[in-house]
């Protein structure tokens, strides 16, 4: 940036202004709170997943205020309900930015909701923290992605299935809900599997609609596919609601983890809370955080959560942890930049480190994604996960997958 036309006096005035800044901030401690937008569906189909994230943000805001806010300024949450309606997400995003003038927004779960608000955040230069694992293939300067990219979840999980501990699977069933995350993830996985010598004949790929509840036929077909003389495993990208009937059917048709293990990318503690997990013991999930992680940061997180929500039976899960990590990084970045201005915070965000509940110190990369450890957990009878494998160190996110050839032509 060049400043050719700025006069000497103006530059001096600017300097004086910047010197006066701390005074202004302390003066505004009572007057102007920092506004934190919360853009999660509280009604409609996504409420099941997103309400917990709203509560997480509120918890973090409360905690930060108890610790004196940021730079002496109080935080104020602005909660709106986009009602699981994608155009409404865009409207509400604009409302948060243009009417409420929030300094940062935590929000969205589905890719489509993020795609819907993305142009709004770019146009109005807002700041969005997106806390859910997704298909990658995106990198907006106005969004920080604190969930996993495919290389931080899908590929290590499949590698595990193909290894000795996972049962040396030679045939893979890719089951998913028909939307972009499973489609892209499975395309990446297919490329990965092919590179490992598993041919298309040994891959079954099937998609179901959202909220699919009758899994009888598909589970039967999986059994038939598995009866071809090779060790078979299921990779599930089945979304939220459809998982309960799917796992019930798996249990009832007697598919045991010993015979056909199933690794899921969208099933966490919250989803398991609605299922009787006894028949599912041994099935797997790949995440970057489990509630069962034994780390001081996690113990603090869980105890904060139980205090905040006033229910010791509520669970924590991966997107909640990603929300927490995003929030902490943002708070650090604001403190470091000594400003809530989007451009200043964005610059300060890169390289922020947080000792996360997953037991590792995570770092924000220049591609707006995090380094994350990958963990594989086995479902236990109590609805928790027993971590059977984890990467020794956090893995940097590859949001542009190397298994999608078109990424070579990507515009940068």
């Amino acid at each position: 940036m060049t400043l050719p036309t700025i006069t000497r006096r103006a530059a001096l005035a600017g300097m004086a202004g910047s010197m006066a800044l701390p005074a202004i901030h302390s003066a505004s401690a009572q007057g102007a709170p920092i506004k934190v937008g919360v853009l999660h569906s509280l009604t409609g189909t996504m409420a099941i997943s997103e309400t917990a994230l709203r509560d997480t943000v509120l918890m973090m805001v409360e905690k930060q205020n108890a610790a004196g806010g940021i730079m002496g300024r109080r935080l104020e949450a602005v909660v709106v309900d986009p009602a699981s309606n994608w155009p409404l997400f865009a409207e509400k995003a604009r409302e948060l930015l243009a009417v409420h003038k929030v300094d940062v927004t935590f929000g969205c779960w589905t890719s489509v909701s993020r795609k819907s608000v993305l142009p709004v955040f770019e146009e109005l230069n807002g700041l969005l923290f997106y806390p859910v694992q997704y298909e990658g293939e995106e990198e907006s300067r106005n969004i920080f992605y604190t969930g996993a990219a495919p290389n931080q979840q899908a590929i290590p999980a499949v590698e595990y299935l193909m290894g000795a501990d996972g049962g040396e699977a030679k045939r893979i069933v890719l089951l998913g809900t028909d939307y972009v995350y499973p489609r892209t993830t499975n395309r990446i996985l297919r490329g990965f599997l092919n590179s490992k010598g598993i041919t298309d004949a040994d891959i079954m790929e099937e998609y179901t609609p959202f909220g699919h509840s009758d899994w009888q036929g598909i589970v039967t077909r999986v059994k038939a596919f598995a009866a071809q003389g090779k060790k078979t495993a299921i990779v599930s990208t089945i979304n939220g609601d459809a998982n309960v009937p799917f796992y019930r059917e798996l249990g009832n048709q007697g598919i045991k983890a010993e015979d056909i293990p199933c690794v899921a990318f969208s099933v966490g503690e919250e989803e398991l809370a609605g299922i009787d997990t006894k028949p599912l013991v041994g099935h797997l999930a790949a995440w970057n955080y489990f509630m069962s992680v034994d780390a001081p940061a996690n113990r603090e997180f869980i105890s904060d959560w139980h205090t905040f929500i006033r229910n010791p039976r509520r669970v924590t899960n991966d997107p909640m942890e990603a929300t927490l990590v995003g929030f902490k990084m943002w708070a650090q970045a604001v403190a470091q930049a000594r400003s809530t201005g989007v451009d200043a915070v964005r610059t300060a965000m890169i390289g922020q480190k947080v000792a996360a509940p997953c037991g590792f110190t995570l770092e924000m990369l220049p591609n707006h994604h995090l380094t994350k450890p990958v963990m594989i957990g086995e479902i236990q009878e109590n609805g928790q996960f027993n971590i059977v494998w984890r990467t020794p160190a956090p893995v940097p996110a590859e949001n542009w997958s190397r298994y999608i050839p078109e990424n070579a032509n990507r515009r940068r």
Binding site: I48, D165, E206, R221, A273
Partner: protein, 516 residues
Amino acid sequence: MIARLLAVLLFCALAASARAQTSFEELVPRLGGGFGPAAEAAQALGTQGDPRALPILRALSEGRLLRNAEGRVILDGRDAATGEAIAAEGATRINLNNRLRVVLRGAIGRLALSSPNAAERRAAADAVFRTRSAENVPLLEDALSREAIPEIRALMELALGASRLLVDDVTVQRAGIIVLSGAGTAEARSLLLEARAAKPELAVDIDAGIATIDRRLAIRRGFETAFQGISLGSVLLLAALGLAITFGVMGVINMAHGEMVMIGAYTTFMVQEALRHTAWAAWSLPLSVPAAFLVTAAVGVVLERFLIRHLYGRPLETLLLTFGIGMMLQQGVRLIFGAQNREVLSPAWMQGTLMLPGGLPVTQNRLWIILFGLAVLALTMAAIRFTRFGLEMRAVVQNRRIAATMGIRTGWVDAMTFAFGSGLAGLAGVALSQIDNVSPNLGTGYIIDSFMVVVFGGVGSLVGTLVGALTLGIVNKLLEPYAGAVLAKVAVLVGIMLFIQRRPKGLFALKGRAAE
């Protein structure tokens, strides 16, 4: 990490070569030494056949085996290897992974083959079948010679057949092929295919065996499709029955029907929670049936008396009214119970698969739901046909004014009819709690299907509802393998739409002047 993996692999290799010499006392502590060594140790313990190993391995598979800081393995307060008493304080549970589970299943199976308990032997035979190896052959032959129960004998023979495939002797392998071909299951087919890849010289025998199995499997697949279709149909039937009353009989377009189903499911959850720590816990699901009926019927009465009553004869207005009610009910439940799914347990008798004669598998929960659906239908028909209330209901439907002049309290009958329909929706909720999410959105997914069933079957005809539901279920399942789940559903919807064009009154239309 890689270094650790290498170390583990190296250790495994060493352990394998030293297996014959390793003593029981040395092997047991290794069970707590990480997944890899534990798997090796369990394998060795199973092969050695030391009966002391059985309770230890079982404890491990059930997650009861502990390990203390010194690496000693503890079972029920004693050192598992030496038997000396030891404090369990500070000891941690030994975790399992799938690899270990597979090995344990085989090892326990081998050890339990000679158990005096028939159930254990049966489980053992099945386990050995799934983890076959050539070394099992003498073990199984021995067990077979002592086995008297035919069912277990059959299982053991199957396991023997599977293990024989791995013996390096063509005649033995042929015997194995014959046994497996006779079994006619997908698992047997899988084993044969595996053997075919390993032993090309046996291809002819194996192909013949697979052909036999495929014929059996084709029959089985047909049966499975039919069963799954009927099962889907019974779910649709349950979901639609309440609507067949409120819409079919009363002409009320109840868009809150799905929410009634949802309330029924939540009632099931409430009953379960209320009984959780009582002696009645096992009976919570059967007890939910009357509870759900009463709760939803009560909600129905309230809605009918206070709101819907004012809009009779204006079906489109009731549609809007009930849409609003549905929104409120859904959000109410969301605020009270939270947006998250609620866990409704399945009783043991509703889990797993039942094998019918001929190897035809039937999932138990689906079977119960089919029976439940039919029972509810039968009771509904009986209630309408044989009870005083049913008579009055039919009278009011046919001619409200004359019924009123004959002393029937038509307002009361309306309320009771709506309550009855709502109660039926509640029953559907009980059934759905066993196969679907118990969440505030539960009902939304069923409302359109329910309307389609009622319209397709013929409004006002319960038999039509039954036939409609079963037809839709079966057609859906027949199309699914070819078109996929989504297109099958779309095709069924389009099919119904076209059907309604041809027969606007549905399959079982009311006939004559009454239908006008």
